[in-house]
């Protein structure tokens, strides 16, 4: 097999993990499917985490994250290196999230009239995940739920730039590109969201056991890195 891509004549890389995001998408544009696999590997967690904090539903969050990655593949030819690839990708994700949130607002609230199961045996259980470590899940679960709740209470228009900054560490300029807002608006919305978030987590900051949990999680993450 040739060492060069037939379309562009670019050298065919052996290790995709060493490449920048922008180099990977250029290879996808050349039709190299394995470069796309690397993009998926890099971004699936980040996208899922960001979207999850916006829609607060893991199934929905996965679907939107997958749709984002599908769009990135199908419209790869539309990406130009005038912006970072991550900015482009999060713009797609943000638009999909906004559409979803808007769609949800339009849907009326449905109340189920099914009778409650007679006993607990009738309640379907989620199949156990063979890979996940149960102790690890329990360790951060309470803190995770409380933080998800505190985040969900921030109004959507503040939450998007806030999460792009806090979770994705995008710069103000990148957030401006993703959201289409003015730089000053981005800054003020992030500041407002931070103040709201601070007010929401204030009771948690006095909870010693949660703070210990936080330290344990951080220590575990550091050791994994």
């Amino acid at each position: 097999m040739s060492d060069r891509s037939p379309e562009s004549g670019r050298p065919r890389p052996k290790v995709y993990a060493d490449l920048r995001d922008e180099e990977l998408i250029a290879l996808v544009q050349d039709g190299q499917k394995r470069a796309y696999d690397e993009i998926v590997r890099r971004f699936k967690g980040r996208l899922f985490s960001f979207i999850m904090r916006m829609v607060a539903d893991p199934v929905e969050a996965e679907e939107i994250a997958q749709d984002t990655l599908i769009r990135a593949y199908i419209h790869a030819d539309k990406y130009r290196e005038i912006a970072k690839f991550s900015t482009w990708l999060f713009t797609i994700a943000t638009n999909l999230v906004r559409n979803q949130v808007r769609k949800k607002k339009r849907q009326p609230y449905m109340l189920t009239l099914d009778p409650a199961p007679e006993n607990d045996d009738q309640i379907p259980l989620d199949p156990p995940d063979p890979v996940s470590d149960p102790t690890r899940m329990l360790e951060g679960r309470e803190l995770g739920e409380l933080i998800a709740k505190a985040t969900a209470q921030i109004p959507e228009k503040y939450r998007i730039p806030f999460l792009l900054r806090e979770v994705e560490q995008l710069s103000y300029e990148e957030i401006q590109q993703v959201t289409g807002l003015k730089l000053g608006t981005v800054r003020s919305r992030i500041n407002r969201a931070r103040n709201r978030f601070r007010a929401n987590i204030k009771p948690l900051l006095k909870n010693e056991s949660l703070l210990e949990d936080l330290e344990r999680i951080e220590a575990r993450c550091e050791s994994e890195d």
């Binding site: 199908i74 933080i147 985040t151 987590i201």
Partner: protein, 241 residues
């Protein structure tokens, strides 16, 4: 320095964009303001909490993605159009749910009052003679009906599609007859309906066959790609990479 300004500077500091010359001013304020110290500490802990509790996708994420991607590519190939969704338009939801149904209702009333009802009445009065008389009329533009001289009848200017055996004279193309006027399809015989449904099912069968061929084409192209073989469409040859 006021606390408001100090808190703005704390935000800039958190984002790593506080100009270095302003750092001593902020530090000085924080030395003597416990409230701002607490503010900064809370924001830092909040950020740590967010980062530490990042959710992870399920293990099935990637194969589900692969499945959806294949489906999207097949749909794009089958439709022959680039894969895209219609952009979301908030006003369109209202238009679709209310505006369109109102417009459709009004159009129906208009058609009933100016087109169908007069015809129905004329049929009751004059029977099939009206149809024979009308099909011999020239079909250009809107024509005035002889039996309704007090109003304009909205006869379609273009020929209406009908089928062989409709009983009225017309141009026959591929087993189907094009007739002038609109009465032929309003008064379709059972034979016509049978021919129509047979043709419809044939069209459906051919469309399915075409879709299946397109899917097969996509599958084969994917197989070639996986094996490092490229199909050079212009030349109609396979090329080993």
């Amino acid at each position: 320095m006021r606390c408001g300004k100090a808190q703005t500077m704390i935000n800039l500091e958190l984002d790593g964009i506080l100009p270095p010359e302003q750092t001593p001013h902020l530090d000085e304020h924080l030395m003597r303001c416990s409230e701002c110290r607490e503010h900064r500490s809370d924001l830092e802990t909040g950020r740590r909490m967010i980062l530490a509790t990042a959710a992870e996708p399920s293990d099935s994420f990637e194969w589900k993605l692969q499945l959806k991607l294949n489906q999207a590519l097949q749909e794009a190939a089958a439709s022959g159009l680039p894969w895209q969704e219609t952009p979301s338009r908030p006003w369109f939801g209202w238009f679709r749910s209310f505006g369109l149904s109102t417009a459709a209702g009004l159009a129906l009333v208009l058609v009933m009052t100016t087109w169908v009802l007069p015809d129905g009445l004329s049929r009751m009065n004059g029977g099939s003679g009206v149809m024979a008389e009308r099909s011999s009329l020239p079909t250009s533009g809107v024509t005035a009906s002889a039996d309704h001289s007090d109003r304009l009848s909205l006869q379609p200017a273009s020929p209406v599609f009908s089928f062989k055996g409709a009983g009225a004279p017309g141009r026959t193309v591929g087993g189907a007859t094009f007739l002038s006027g609109n009465d032929s399809w309003l008064a379709g015989s059972p034979d016509n309906r049978r021919s129509f449904s047979a043709l419809q099912s044939e069209v459906t069968r051919l469309r399915e066959l075409l879709d299946a061929s397109r899917l097969e084409n996509v599958r084969l192209m994917a197989l070639l790609e996986r094996n490092g073989v490229k199909y050079l469409e212009g030349e109609g040859v396979l090329h080993q990479e």
